[in-house]
Amino acid sequence: MGPVELLHMSVFSQSFSPCGRFLAAGNNYGEIAVFSLSAALSPDASQASQKPILNFTAHDGPVFSLLSTDTHLLSAGNGEISAWSWAELIKKSTKAAWTRKPSYETSLEIPEINAMIINPKDNSLIVGGGDNNIHIMDMETGIFKSVLKGHTDYIHCLCFKEREEEILSGGEDGAVRIWDSRTNRPVHCIEVFKYEECARPQFGKWISCLATDSDWMLCGGGPSLSLWHLRSMSPTSVFPLPGCQREAVFYQDLIMSVGEGPHVSHCLHGGTVKAQIPCTPSSLNTLALNLKNTEHRVMTVGGSSHQIDVFTNFSYRAFSLSF
């Protein structure tokens, strides 16, 4: 990892460990780095504790998506999903537990996997990627149960509504599709760019971030970040954020989103942007909140830099972990 490579590194995905003491981050060179949060947050943290405790090459292509189950870390890159046991990773062993590939129609090029979520109800893994389809895999058996087709362009993000057991997917084609996970059928399709208040044609129509909180849905990307009421299927508030947002989450009564531009935006449900916290990368790709562990309740953001900013108090940047 020479200095030139470091200069051009981008962090695409993050995931906290089930115990909440470790953070895994994936970058555009296919590497996954595991950081020890407890070491970095401890009072006698030093320069060395901001370096990963383990850094290994997981995939050939960039690691676009990381997901943690109770025991494993799932990573998806160029068309294949690998699972790594957290216990093994903490012990610095880099042998994958398993590696699976959803069946793709074309074998010309291997589509990348952009998003993964877990359906806790029936313990299945939902992946969406470059082949415009959503694949559902059973975690125990590892068999890909079903394929949800509907998107006309590749899928950027996935989201799961627990109460209704619905899968939301947003893609390059600008549509947010809602699927029923039990029947595997599309329920709704919202074309966000068709709504004038959200649409931003200069950026395109693609949806790159989705988040739900019971009845509410956040989506953004080419169109501005907007809060939708799902029952009425209409946008309630539109957030005037300049760049394209790539990830957004609900947190208590705030909405936090990251995207183009070197800051994390805190927004209120009403549609106002409360604060924009500056951070080191020039544009951000991923935001993660460590809610499982009360001790290390941090927010980490990563983007087009080899550094991952850590926020202990969500209002300002505390320090940075670096690859």
Binding site: P3, L7, H8, P62, P201, G204, R246, E260, S282, S304
Partner: protein, 701 residues
């Protein structure tokens, strides 16, 4: 009684003077005779009628008879004999009595006289007579006393004489004893020369010496004889050895003469051999065995200073063994080199001496200024050895890299000057001026080997003495002292490896030669590329065409060179500067790619070690506003495309196409970007191209 009467009583008196010792015996007798006449003279005075005999000479004791004309027997009154018979104590009593009687008589006379007696009265006369008798007695006693005294003295004297004689004898004897003792001592101390001769030990002697010399039956008992025998044997042996020595000398002389003769013969052969050599020259050339040439070179190389010699040997060996296109030759003034090597200690380290000499000279001439003196000292310090090595590296395309190696004697470092000669004419590339500049051609052959500072730490002290602050000022004149060169010459200045001398040189030779050749080729290729780049043509060779799609619309508009100063002033390169990837020794260029209204500025940082270290691109796009790699993710993607994925763009070995391929890729990326961007916005640009997967990040379209 009158004195006359007394005198008359003794008519013939033999009077002797009290004599002196025995040696006057003869005279004494004569004196006796003369004493008679003197008696007559002194009759009135002397009352004494004494015959004294000398104490010595027993024959004189006793009565002596005086021989006169008449046979008159003279009775000699010998008072001496009488003296022996008398007792001194009695005499003393007699004396006292006499004195008393005399006193009494005197008193009586006094009385009588006082009583009125007459002067010539009988009683007084009687008493006077008695007094006179008493006086005579007294006189006799006095005489006796004197005689006793004299006798005593004489006896003492005689005894003393005897004692003296004996004493003398004793002393004589003592002297003699001492003398003898000394002589004995001397004899004992006498070191005969024979003891200084080292003799063989006794056992050897008895073993080796023939019986007639050793005579064991005699010598075993007698030490003296043994020593003599051994000396004899020694002498014999020495004589024998002397004989042998003479013979050996004679032989040596003969052999010497023989050698001389042979030498002359050989030297007479020399001109003949020379002729043969001359005649064989054309044969050598024909057969391509430069025997003569190599001999000549070997001759000259003997005068090379050690580092240059090591370099010569190693380079020559390498050239013979591995690399046919490497050739080494020596150039320079051999006579000067010979002159240098003749006085063994040149002024290499004797700074103070040369300074002293210089100062003397200066005072002899007019007083030179301090500056001139310092200058002279500096020149002296920076003096080059008159011989230099020329190494030629030939490349396949005919261009040659000439390296001239010089040795700075006082500083003990090697420097190099370069020259490139090519078959084709290199011109028309303005930006390439720096490339083949001899100053910077060999910059950073190994990382951070700038060749501006001297690698010998000892030089720092030498510089301080003559006031040179940086060596860099003299580099252009004297050549660059690169570290790899010192290693090639076997000079080791850092404590990294334990190799010195030839081993060090050999270990570095191959790598350095390869690097040099690679450097030359890279630079030449770059030169060619630059000349076409300046004409806005990106020269992509046929091997690399497959890396790019067939149709590329964006074109290179401009290619210029920048200085380090200008580079640092650019806004969009700060991240590169901050990351510490740029150094002053790098070369900086600016490329402008245009398509339609969009202009892409690319600042290129090229490390002198191209193509091992890839050029670094920083992009800034002017199209509907200004974006740079920092602000726009797509531009960053383009940058990483060109910077990070450079291994694909290397092209065929040795990867000299890297730069042009990178530029071509930039154009392609720009195409894609513009087309996809504009697709979204207003679709005014050209036909859609299929975006390759690489460009499809989450954020790209």
């Amino acid at each position: 009684m009158s004195s006359d009467a007394v005198k008359k009583r003794k008519p013939k008196v033999i009077r002797n003077e009290t004599g002196t010792p025995e040696t006057k015996r003869g005279r004494a007798e004569g004196d006796q005779l003369s004493a008679v006449s003197s008696h007559v003279k002194f009759r009135k005075v002397r009352l004494r009628q004494v015959q004294v005999t000398y104490p010595a000479g027993p024959h004189l004791i006793g009565q002596r008879k005086l021989f006169t004309a008449k046979t008159q027997a003279v009775r000699v009154y010998n008072e001496e004999v009488e003296l022996e018979a008398r007792d001194p104590q009695q005499d003393y009593m007699l004396y006292k009595d006499t004195c008393a009687a005399l006193a009494k008589l005197m008193a009586e006379i006094q009385e009588l006289k006082a009583g009125g007696a007459k002067v010539g009265s009988v009683e007084i006369e009687e008493r006077r007579t008695q007094c006179s008798v008493h006086f005579i007695t007294l006189k006799k006693l006095n005489r006796l006393a004197h005689m006793r005294l004299k006798k005593g003295r004489d006896q003492t004297h005689e005894a003393k004489q005897r004692v003296d004689v004996l004493h003398l004898q004793l002393q004589n004897l003592l002297y003699e004893v001492m003398h003898l003792q000394k002589e004995i001592g001397k004899c004992l101390e006498f070191r005969s020369q024979h003891e200084e001769i080292e003799l063989v030990s006794e056992e050897e002697f008895f073993q080796e010496a023939p019986a007639e010399i050793s005579r064991p039956h005699v010598t075993r008992d007698d030490q003296h004889q043994l020593t003599l025998a051994r000396l004899d044997w020694e002498l014999e042996q020495r004589k024998r050895l002397a004989e042998q020595y003479k013979m050996s000398l004679a032989r040596k002389e003969k052999i010497q003469k023989a050698i001389e003769q042979k030498r002359e013969y050989l030297s007479s052969l020399q001109p003949g051999l020379q002729n043969i050599m001359q005649a064989s020259l054309p044969v050598q050339e024909y057969l391509a065995i430069p025997f003569e040439h190599m001999q000549k070179q070997a001759e000259v190389s003997r005068h090379l200073p050690p580092p240059l010699y090591v370099l010569l040997v190693q380079a020559g060996a390498y050239g013979q063994a591995c690399d046919k296109n490497l050739s080494v030759s020596i150039s320079g003034d051999v006579d000067e080199a010979k002159a240098l090597s003749r006085p063994p200690e040149d002024s290499q380290d004797d700074e103070s001496d040369s300074d002293a000499e210089e100062e003397q000279q200066n005072t002899k001439r007019r007083r030179a200024t301090v500056g001139v003196q310092l200058d002279d000292k500096r020149k002296e310090m920076l003096r080059r050895h008159p011989l230099s090595l020329c190494v030629d590296l030939k490349c396949k395309d005919g261009s040659i890299l000439h390296l001239f190696f010089y040795y700075l004697m006082n500083l003990n470092i090697l420097t190099v000057k370069t020259k490139v000669s090519t078959t084709t004419d290199l011109s028309g590339a303005v930006s390439a001026g720096e490339l083949l500049n001899s100053e910077s051609l060999l910059n950073c052959l190994y990382t951070s080997d700038h060749g501006k500072e001297t690698p010998n730490p000892a030089n720092r002290y030498q510089f301080d003495k003559v006031g040179i602050t940086t060596f860099a000022d003299y580099v252009s004149d004297l050549g660059h002292p690169y570290v790899w060169m010192q290693k090639l010459g076997g000079l080791q200045f850092s404590s990294d490896s334990a190799l010195t001398g030839s081993a060090l040189s050999a270990s570095h030779m191959e790598r350095t030669m390869k690097l040099l050749r690679g450097r030359l080729q890279a630079r030449l290729a770059l030169h060619k590329q630059f000349s076409s780049l300046e004409h806005s043509i990106i020269p992509v060779s046929s091997e690399c065409q497959h890396l790019f799609p067939a149709k590329v619309v964006s074109g290179l508009m401009r290619w210029t060179m920048m200085s380090y100063q200008e580079f640092t002033e650019l806004g969009f390169v700060q991240h590169v500067l901050k990351a510490g990837l740029v150094r002053e020794t790098d070369l900086f260029f600016m490329a402008v790619v245009e398509r339609g209204t969009a202009r892409l500025l690319a600042a290129v940082v090229m490390n002198p070690r191209y193509p091992e270290v890839a050029p670094l691109f920083s992009l800034s796009l002017h199209w509907k506003g200004e974006r740079s790699g920092r602000t726009d993710d797509n531009l960053q993607a383009m940058e990483s495309e060109v910077n990070v994925f450079r291994s694909e763009l290397q092209g065929p070995r040795p990867g000299l196409q890297l730069l042009t391929n990178q530029i071509q890729r930039l154009c392609v990326c720009l195409d894609v970007y513009l087309e996809t961007e504009s697709q979204v916005c207003d679709g005014s640009e050209g036909p859609k191209e299929f975006p390759r997967e690489k460009m499809c990040l989450r954020t790209a379209r």
